[in-house]
Symmetry: C2
Subunit: 474 residues, 2 copies
């Protein structure tokens, strides 16, 4: 039998140092790249050999190919002039925390399969709850607790499953959703992940009720929620879940959580709050109002992988009552039984999520919180909020432009008064330049551009340059 | 506004090199640790400060704490004497490929958000299909294609959603599953992820039909599947999905895929194959029989993160008809629209999975395939299969022990003839020693131990030592 060509420890050190240096260099030369990749469909594949190699190649060749074959096809999310979608931050501590997770290679599906993976996760989510000043009900020392989900989409899905479990007294586990007619409520501004969750959970899109928003603020209207729920109950449809957003994807609107929660609870429904992007901003005391109403929420999700310097994937998800969640998702086959689980004294996170296996994701969040500290995280959020406010003042000074909504945290939504076609042409022009990247949304039937600030490398000069480019191409 | 305390490039290099060296050292001293963590519930948390730091700390302190506060709570999945569950491999190329993904920090939800992330993934899954000699129908140049899922559990879930989409002609998207009565079929040996998928998809556990297995081989019995399906159809229940296993979790049984597929298709159901652990072994020509019947499968999943040297998470999932999958999962809100998507010329992987966001996971698999080459991957699999065969011969020589099933690839299932209590006591004794770690299952009502070989560091002497320890404590 031929020997297995594992990378030697010496080679791992050598190549590992080279990769670390490559990343440091990459971050230092981010501005030399066009933000938005300029390749066409198929270009990247065309540069790759059709067949896998028969004989192993040196890792150095892979690294060299990153430069020549991969980078041209990369849209640089870390670029200081990346203003598209919502940001997806990385930072030194996060990259290194994630690297430690890769090196340890533990799989934390059960407490027993690596107690530290579970306990550090519980602990760090308590820390984050402290930093964000979340209500005590989400802390692990009561009936609630936090867990890292892959994404806010997974969070919405498991919230729906927990809600179904609760509203059916656990019957949904056996009968599925065929036994009743169920409805989910959320605003028309809510992220599509909620509609996707309805589909995945077998409710279908017909079960989703879109709550009208106030045309000025784009916040969900409680009176409309109440009317929809009343109509459903009259028709024998069971309200399962209301999803409120803190920071909608389009314009960053913040729903009146407390009012929506009261209506949801009166009807026996679960209240989930999706604060995927905006939630982490509550690390700053002057933005604690973002949490208004959370003490009535059944579950809450925000993504450190968006705006809190932590590598994708890291969605922080809390429930006030973990038994509903575990009830919805726990199945214990013999081969996963173990003394710790049987004792009931530990958390097995596999029962809090869709997948079974789990990476040690708490390490990167732990590294971020420790290396920035509360102080550093606050400075990070404040900087972006201030930059967005400044950008908004510039938009106000140019008659050709208008703000679609007041800036929300680090997001500014604006358009050309000349109309949709002009606005879209402007977007294509600036994105095609490679000098910046921003995306659009449609608000009230008209196209608007979104400038979302989030890269750790973004300084005032980048926002200024973006504005100059927008003006020049308008 | 105070400055944000980002890690400087120089500090990132310094700390990054230190982490790389720490990982190399860790892998070199794996044998100095007890395989199974010896901490009790709460021990890890008790060693952590109750509150997050207010002022940032040096990363070096985090690294130091890994050693003192985290490692005692780690069960060492990479330890050469880790024989529990199924393995979850890491390797140098995979760790470094993953590190590159962390440094690039791109989010590949759409082709447009980083074309290279999508195209490399498609390309590498074609490569893997070549290496595993999978049927052409799964390749991306036809109607099919591959994607990296988080886990085999996610793969089973999305297969079920695609199956529902197909069997209802897309009505399930709107109506959910309440409009019909649906059933899913799989053997009683199948992994619990299929039952979990039924729950998540709103079918409930009542929809799951467990197909009897042949008591000798533990393979699903086609005649029993046919009987269950016939009974359901007579009762007006619609067969949606049949899941066949290649390598069951308990004993590594391989279902007769072709026969099950024929019955499934006759009834209009989808045939998904879960080969989470065993599938990658088909990289070896003498194990190509593992793929028997795959040319009739609608979808197929195997985990490079189990036994193909690739860090968690990396489940390789292929479909023969991607339109059903995308039909089940695609929702296109305005803010995700872009020219490339509208052109139809590209793949947007967000429509192939539960979450929206995606990490650049293809990099690590690409690095593994390139650095090992077909040759290296074959040597890796062959080595473990040979070690398991050897272990089985030893078991056969000791009258106190018996094999529960013939060894399956790198998995040996065995027990003490003295019965369940003795077998469990033996497991607890060897696991408590810290010298090795293996887990149990129940076969036909009796407890059996599973020795699953998978760590790249496992040599004959480790398997030998495991056997000596088992004999000594028996
Ligand atoms: C408000 C909101 N919710 C949910 C999501 C989905 O995020 P994820 O990729 O974590 O599922 C987004 C993504 O931008 C979002 O803006
Ligand atoms: C046969 C089989 N299928 C599925 C799984 C689930 O794996 P994952 O953690 O990737 O969901 C396992 C895990 O051991 C398995 O053995």
């Amino acid at each position: 039998m031929s020997d297995v060509p594992h990378m030697s420890a010496a080679e791992f050190r050598r190549q590992g140092h080279a990769v670390i240096d490559w990343i440091a260099d990459y971050h230092e030369r981010l501005e030399s790249f066009p933000v938005l990749s300029q390749v066409g469909p198929g270009d990247v594949r065309a540069a790759l050999p059709a067949d896998p190699p028969e004989v192993g190649e040196p890792f150095a060749d892979v690294l060299a190919d990153i430069e020549t074959r991969i980078l041209p096809g990369v849209t640089h999310w870390q670029h200081p002039s990346f203003f598209a979608y919502f940001p997806a931050n990385v930072s030194g501590p996060s990259i290194l925390g994630d690297l430690l997770a890769a090196g340890l290679g533990v799989q934390g599906m059960l407490w027993a399969t690596s107690p530290a993976a579970t306990e550090l996760e519980t602990h760090v989510l308590d820390w984050l709850a402290t930093l964000l000043d979340l209500p005590d009900r989400f802390r692990s020392d009561g009936a609630g607790g936090g867990v890292i989900q892959h994404s806010a989409s997974d969070a919405a899905l498991v919230a729906l499953l927990a809600a179904l479990h609760r509203v059916t007294d656990g019957r949904s586990e056996h009968e599925g959703v065929a036994g009743g007619r169920f409805a989910v409520y959320t605003s028309e501004q809510t992220h599509s992940s909620v509609a996707k969750a309805c589909r995945i959970a077998g409710l279908g899109s017909d079960s989703l009720r879109l709550v009208d928003t106030d045309p000025r603020t784009l916040r969900a209207r409680p009176d409309r929620l109440r009317a929809l729920i009343d109509a459903d109950r009259t028709a024998g449809v069971v309200p399962v879940l209301v999803v409120a957003s803190i920071g909608t994807t389009g314009v960053g609107a913040v729903d009146p959580v407390a009012e929506l929660a009261a209506i949801a609870h009166e009807a026996g429904a679960w209240l989930h709050v999706d604060a995927a992007w905006a939630g982490v901003a509550a690390v700053v005391p002057e933005l604690h109002w973002l949490n208004d109403g959370l003490d009535a929420a059944d579950s809450y999700a925000t993504n450190p992988h968006k705006w809190l310097l932590t590598n994708f994937d890291c969605d922080a998800f809390w429930v006030a009552d973990r038994t509903a969640l575990v009830g919805a998702l726990s199945i214990l086959p013999e081969y996963l039984r173990n003394a710790a689980t049987d004792s009931g004294a530990v958390v097995d996170y596999r029962d809090w999520q869709v997948p079974l296996g789990r990476r040690f994701r708490a390490l990167k969040l732990w590294a971020v919180i420790r290396c920035y500290g509360g102080e550093g995280l606050r400075a990070h959020v404040r900087k972006h909020v201030a930059l967005a406010a400044e950008f908004a003042t510039w938009v106000r000074t140019d008659d050709r432009f208008e703000l679609v909504a007041p800036p929300s945290l680090s997001l500014v939504t604006f358009r050309l008064r000349a109309g949709d076609d002009a606005t879209r042409a402007l977007m294509d022009a600036v994105n095609g330049s490679g000098e910046m990247y921003l995306t659009h949304t449609v608000v009230d039937g008209t196209t608007a551009l979104r400038l979302a600030i989030g890269s750790p490398w973004t300084e005032q000069r980048h926002v200024r340059a973006a504005w100059e480019l927008l003006r020049a191409r308008a």
